[in-house]
Every structure is written in structure tokens, then in C-alpha cells.
Point group: C2
């Protein structure tokens, strides 16, 4: 009866995990077999102790004195922790430029995201495939979502339509929304919303740049 339960991981640690993941995967191609927290910290511009703590939180086997962490094991641990091993079925609503960009990017499967279909209102884009994913007319949302057991809806429609689309997705049984429209969606408690808010990044960039230019 051991069931060694780790403490829940902090939000900030979770935020850094994908960076570790990317970093380690790149290393994995190269010669190395293990790596120290200090080295990672140096490359990612983080604090060494922070890295050690972050890794300790997900690592199954821990690090070894004088060697560090085994890269392969760590990658697997992070994958397992972040749920990249679980497959999540998703659809995209809005097959404009951004929607198409996401449809064409095949790297999401790396993270367990499986985009199965798209929807759009524009008659010139529906009823054809983009990167082997069929674009259905909007009316088909409920039918397809139920049929394919879709859990994630990705919203890439213009801001004005986002809430409408969101409501339809929720009614169609999806559990989570990845929202690229610059609006705050209204959803029932049980639905998870992740906003991909470019305005936030832009604001931070803009702010930092302004500060930097002034310093000069």
C-alpha cells in the first residue's frame, strides 16, 4: 500500500514543462545521455534550483549525483505528466488562414492533439479537404462532434462569431475549448477554456520594448 503520491505541481511549474520538453527532445537527437539541472538552467535562462525542483516534481527516477537526469526517461516522464500520451480528439471551427495554419501543422500529434475535421460557413472552403482533414459546413457541428467523440473544440473564427460557435460546440458535447478569438467566452462551469491570446504576448513585447527604448 504505498501509492507514492507526489505533491500537486504548481501552475508555474506546469507552465515551464513544455519548454523543458522541447529542450530535451532537441538534446535527445544529439550525443548526450543525461544532463544536469544546472546545464538546463543555463540554456533556458532559468534558476538552477528551480529547474531541479520542477524536474523532481515529474521525474519518476530522480537525478543522479555527478550525472544528472537521464534524458530519455525525463522526456517520457514529462510526456506522461502533461498527458501528451493520451489522445485528444479535436475539431477546428473556422477554416480561414489561421484555421488552415493549424490544420496544416502536423506537430500537434506530438502533444496528443488529434485534429479530425474542420467547419466553416464560407461555401468556397467547405466540402473539400485541407491536409486530409475535411471541412464541413457549420450545421454539421453537432453530428460530427458526437460521431467522432470530440473533446476539444478549437475556435478560429472572427471575434464576432466566437460566442455563437462556442455555444454550438458546448451543445455538441465538447469538454474543452482552445480559443484563438480575442474575446472572453461565456461557458458553463464544467467546460474548460484556454485562451490563446496574442494580445497578451503583444502587450508584453510592446511594454518591454518601450521600456528598453527609453533606457537607451
Amino acid at each position: 500500500m504505498k501509492e507514492q503520491k507526489k505533491a500537486p505541481i504548481s501552475k508555474q511549474t506546469l507552465n515551464r514543462m513544455p519548454a523543458y520538453f522541447l529542450y530535451l527532445k532537441k538534446l535527445d537527437f544529439q550525443e548526450h545521455q543525461s544532463i544536469s539541472a544546472a546545464a538546463i538552467a543555463n540554456d533556458l535562462n532559468l534558476n538552477e534550483i528551480q529547474v531541479r525542483k520542477d524536474l523532481a516534481a515529474v521525474s519518476s527516477s530522480g537525478g543522479k549525483p555527478h550525472k544528472g537526469f537521464d534524458i530519455c526517461t525525463l522526456i517520457e516522464d514529462i510526456k506522461a505528466y502533461l498527458g501528451y500520451d493520451d489522445v485528444n480528439n479535436a475539431v477546428i471551427v473556422g477554416a480561414g488562414k489561421l484555421g488552415q495554419a493549424l490544420l496544416c501543422y502536423d506537430g500537434f500529434s506530438e502533444y496528443g492533439l488529434n485534429i479530425l475535421a474542420a467547419f466553416d460557413a464560407d461555401p468556397t472552403v467547405i466540402h473539400r479537404s485541407i491536409n486530409s482533414k475535411y471541412v464541413y459546413p457549420m450545421e454539421k457541428i453537432p453530428e460530427i462532434c458526437h460521431l467522432l467523440n470530440i473533446q476539444i473544440g478549437i475556435i478560429t473564427v472572427p471575434a464576432a462569431y466566437a460566442q455563437l460557435v462556442c455555444d454550438q460546440l458546448v451543445d455538441s458535447g465538447i469538454r474543452a475549448i482552445w480559443n484563438f478569438a480575442p474575446v472572453l467566452l461565456n461557458v458553463p462551469q464544467k467546460i474548460l477554456v484556454q485562451n490563446e491570446n496574442m494580445a497578451v504576448s503583444l502587450a508584453i513585447l510592446s511594454k518591454h520594448l518601450a521600456v528598453k527604448l527609453q533606457e537607451k
Copy 2:
């Protein structure tokens, strides 16, 4: 000799600013003239005191008892604070789907970002305009950047080319990079890098969803 200097704003507060901005702008279209911190907190699912503190940090005139904050003034204050009033000239390198999506989105000017041109290596996309922005061949990066006094470079090329492009941009005098490629860029200290890392969002979504599905 007053020069009332406000305390520097915390990172977390800065992160929330764009959300306030979007929210207030939407309100502005409607009847209201002022709004309380409590109401904002309620709508954005934040803590009331947090909102009050955040707004106090940027507000020029403060809120009024029994009324709250003046919406218009607050919008202007946030705009000024985030530097949305300053114009930043930018170019996009990589006119693929994602690059085109960004080129076609006219909403960035709202945030002071002015995308003036694009670059690509693909002969089928260069020498034509996308949403009135000309796509130049890669070689033109230094010339155009200097000519147009570009401060921000947006990278939307495949991961493998990102570092190369980054180096070229830095050599061409840009000050900040908005990086959409899933790689960690190496830049001189003086250059600002903002990573738009979709994998981070996806990881968080994935993780939260996994937790939620387990609970059920």
C-alpha cells in the same frame, strides 16, 4: 517637482492588462459610463481586490466611491501603459499559412503593431501582396528593415530555419522578436524575444482536461 512615480507593475498584473482592455472596450460600446472593480472581477472571474489593485496601478485618476472607474479614461490609461499608443513597425518572416494569417489580421494596429512587409523563400509567394503587404525575397531583409526603420521581427518560418532568420533580423537592426517557431532562439542580450508558444497552452489545456476527465 512632483513627478509622481508609480510603483513598477508586477508581471502578473501586466499579464492581466490585455484582458481588462478587451473587456472594457466591449463595455464601452454599451450604455455604461463607469464600472466598479467588483463588477469587472465578477465578469472576468477574478478577485475583486486584485482587480482594484491592478487598476490602481495604471489608472491616472483613480476610481470614485459609489461609482467605480470611468471606462473611457481607464481604456486610455491601459493603452498608454501598455504602449498601444506607440507605433511599432514590424515585418513578418515566413509567409506560409500562419504568416498569412497574421498578415491578414488587421486588428494588430489596435495594439500599435504595424506590419509593413513580409519575407519568404518560396518563389511562388514572393513578389506579390497579401492584404496590401508586399512579400519580398529573403535577401531583402537587411535593406527593407533599415529602410523602414523596423523594430519588431515576427518569425513564422519552420523551426529548422528560425535561428537563421533570427540572426538575419538581428543583423538588420531589429530590437525585438515575436517568435512563433517552437524553438529557443539565441540572441544577444539587448534583443527582446517573446515566444508565442502554442505548445504551452496546449499542455495546460491537455493537463487540465485530463484532470477533469479523471474527476468525473
